[in-house]
Symmetry: C2
Subunit: 207 residues, 2 copies
């Protein structure tokens, strides 16, 4: 019995396969139809469970969709800032370079791109999903990028007047924008693009 | 009688007020409910016209929504590349700086932000709207940015190895990303943000 079960006053232990089935159904429906086009009832039906089984786990649609989005990007690596804190620019940027192929493969998957479009598409009408995506997915990666760019400034690779936060927005923004533009990239093309943008931002050295 | 009427084999002259009413209704419904949540029937009803009146003007929903999105961003200035072709980096970047306050005001409007979210949100499920937005709205602005950055490289303001296309993606991407993040900016904050990002990209000098 998990803490979440106790806090909701339920006694039965949770079956992780049920959680997975619900998250998968929520992710599929959100990706296909967006936040507004998806209901808890449809999610429960596709997962083969009752609505109460869903509500026992997630308080509302926002929380469930945020968790489903969260579950979709487990593959993208991100070393924690603690692991990187004492490293040089060359060492941190090497860690970033090493992580790029797996990131490119995940980001270039049609399903990921479709999900990303729905996250951005629902950002104004249903800001909860974007807020969760921001907090859980983007912020930790911003910390890594911030560390790399701070070292680059300290070591004189980038000029002292560099606006680090703006540069991070520019690198992340370019990748999102490239993924949602007409003519989406294949994984190898996206890997090349990530290298180009990260190098232009100064997060990694030019090849 | 316009060329479009003739090509569709209709004899009656078009009333521009009807066009406006249809475009306004299409923009409102698309902004509120997205591409999938909007039908030609709903648009016609909100505009107070019959479905045939809509189909006489636009062949399908994609074309109509693209035209509606087009009509929403008339305020954002963009000098043509011809006007700028013979200017120096200082002159071109001054033109860009002068255009920023109007751009910031338009982009920061809640309605514009909501529309932008739907354009990006429908980019995978209904790529026609994004393709039109790309062609009509973004490409002409990329030409201006390209000219400014080319001059910056020629005049030694930016290093010779600058990747101009990547830098443009980064500047545009950062602005889109800033608009659709949680905690959207007011017009004056967005103006400051545009200045920071454009300066970091080298499109305008640092203040």
């Amino acid at each position: 019995m998990t803490a979440a079960d106790v806090s909701r006053g339920r006694g039965r232990p949770r079956d992780p396969r049920t959680d997975q089935a619900i998250l998968r159904a929520a992710l599929e429906l959100f990706t296909e139809h967006g936040h507004a086009g998806t209901s808890i009832e449809q999610i429960a039906r596709r997962a083969g469970v009752g609505k109460l089984t869903v509500y026992r786990r997630w308080a509302n649609k926002d929380e469930l969709i945020a968790a489903a989005v969260e579950s979709a990007r487990g593959e993208i690596p991100n070393p924690g800032p603690e692991e990187l804190a004492d490293l040089s620019y060359a060492e941190i940027s090497q860690v970033i370079v090493d992580a790029l192929p797996v990131s490119a493969r995940t980001l270039a998957e049609p399903g990921y791109r479709a999900m990303l479009a729905q996250v951005f598409g629902s950002s104004v009408t249903h800001p909860g999903v974007m807020a969760a995506f921001w907090q859980n997915h983007l912020l930790p990666r911003r910390h890594t990028a911030h560390l790399a760019l701070s070292r680059a400034v300290e070591e004189g690779v980038l000029p002292a007047e560099t606006d680090i936060e703006a540069l991070i927005d520019m690198a992340v923004g370019a990748v999102v924008y490239r993924l949602l533009r007409p003519d989406p990239p294949e994984a190898d093309e996206l890997l090349e693009y990530l290298r180009t943008v990260y190098a232009q931002a100064g997060m990694i050295p030019r090849q």
